[in-house]
């Protein structure tokens, strides 16, 4: 009797997408933390609060596909990213960390997603698929 494996394949692909998104988010999250480590100005007021407040959501699905959110609950980070009238310096201050880092790491994010996705789908650690998308590929 024929039995379709489509539900299992779909389930596996969804799980692979979620795992890939987690990997891509980790790339961006680490890069943002690295950027925030030195603070926004002189570095004299760095407490680590901004770095420790970088977080990501669970992967989700909507009508456009799977996605994951990386962000922070700290409004200070938003103010520095988008700019604000600073009460201490008395002028408009803006130091972007998040958006430039997102665009700068897009290739690494994509590579991480592809690498994990392929492994999840059975590409295998030593197979072509696992190496083709890796930035560390010796090819």
């Amino acid at each position: 009797m024929y039995k379709s494996n489509l539900p299992q394949v779909e389930s596996r692909m969804r799980a692979a997408s979620f795992a890939g998104l987690e990997a891509a988010a980790a790339v961006y999250e680490n890069a943002v933390k690295d950027e925030l480590r030195g603070g926004y100005t002189s570095g004299d007021f760095v407490t680590g609060q901004s770095v420790s407040a970088v977080a990501h959501s669970e992967p989700e699905m909507d009508s456009d596909g799977a996605f994951i959110l990386v962000g922070t609950s700290l409004l200070h980070n938003l103010y520095w990213e988008l700019g604000h009238q600073n009460l201490f310096t008395r002028r408009f201050e803006r130091v972007e960390k998040w958006v430039p880092t997102f665009y700068r790491t897009r290739e690494q994010q994509l590579a991480a997603f592809q690498r994990v996705y392929l492994r999840f789908m059975g590409g295998g650690a030593g197979g072509f698929g696992s190496r083709a998308a890796s930035l560390r590929s010796p090819r």
């Binding site: 409004l75 200070h76 700019g83 604000h84 009238q85 600073n86 408009f92």
Partner: protein
Amino acid sequence: MANTGSWGGVEQLIRQRLLTFVSSTGGGTLAQRLGSTSSGSGADGKLFLDQAPDNVTGFWAVLRIITAPPNGADGRLMIKGTAELMIHGKPRAVASTVKGMATLVSEAWLEWSHTEVGGHLSAMDATPSPGLVPYTADPADRELVTYRMLLDFRCTPQFLLKYAA
């Protein structure tokens, strides 16, 4: 007249569109709503490119292109870019006026396209992101009102298209 012969030209085209657009229901252009400076780059409307002067007052806006992958698409000739528009006002009582300007920008960006010999620029989505910035706590000055929008566009600029086979 600005054209797509350079990135500066692309920015000017977007700037001119936003400053001079008139809503079908009237209400004044963005240039009229923002006001202007007596001289300098804000003389035709206080929509500055990249950075505003430190001494700017009243309403003002800042436009810049935040991403435009240099490798392009469509045979590497078309660029899918995003411009960022920040509309500012002070004090907080002018928030509704700032939101009105953001609405006007959404209208101006709807289905706009610029075509020229050897170049093209089309507006895509206008996304409030996050819209009105929630300045609710120190050290931000809570009297500053900021509305942020992301303006997606597609551009086949002269400076790339001239290399088309």
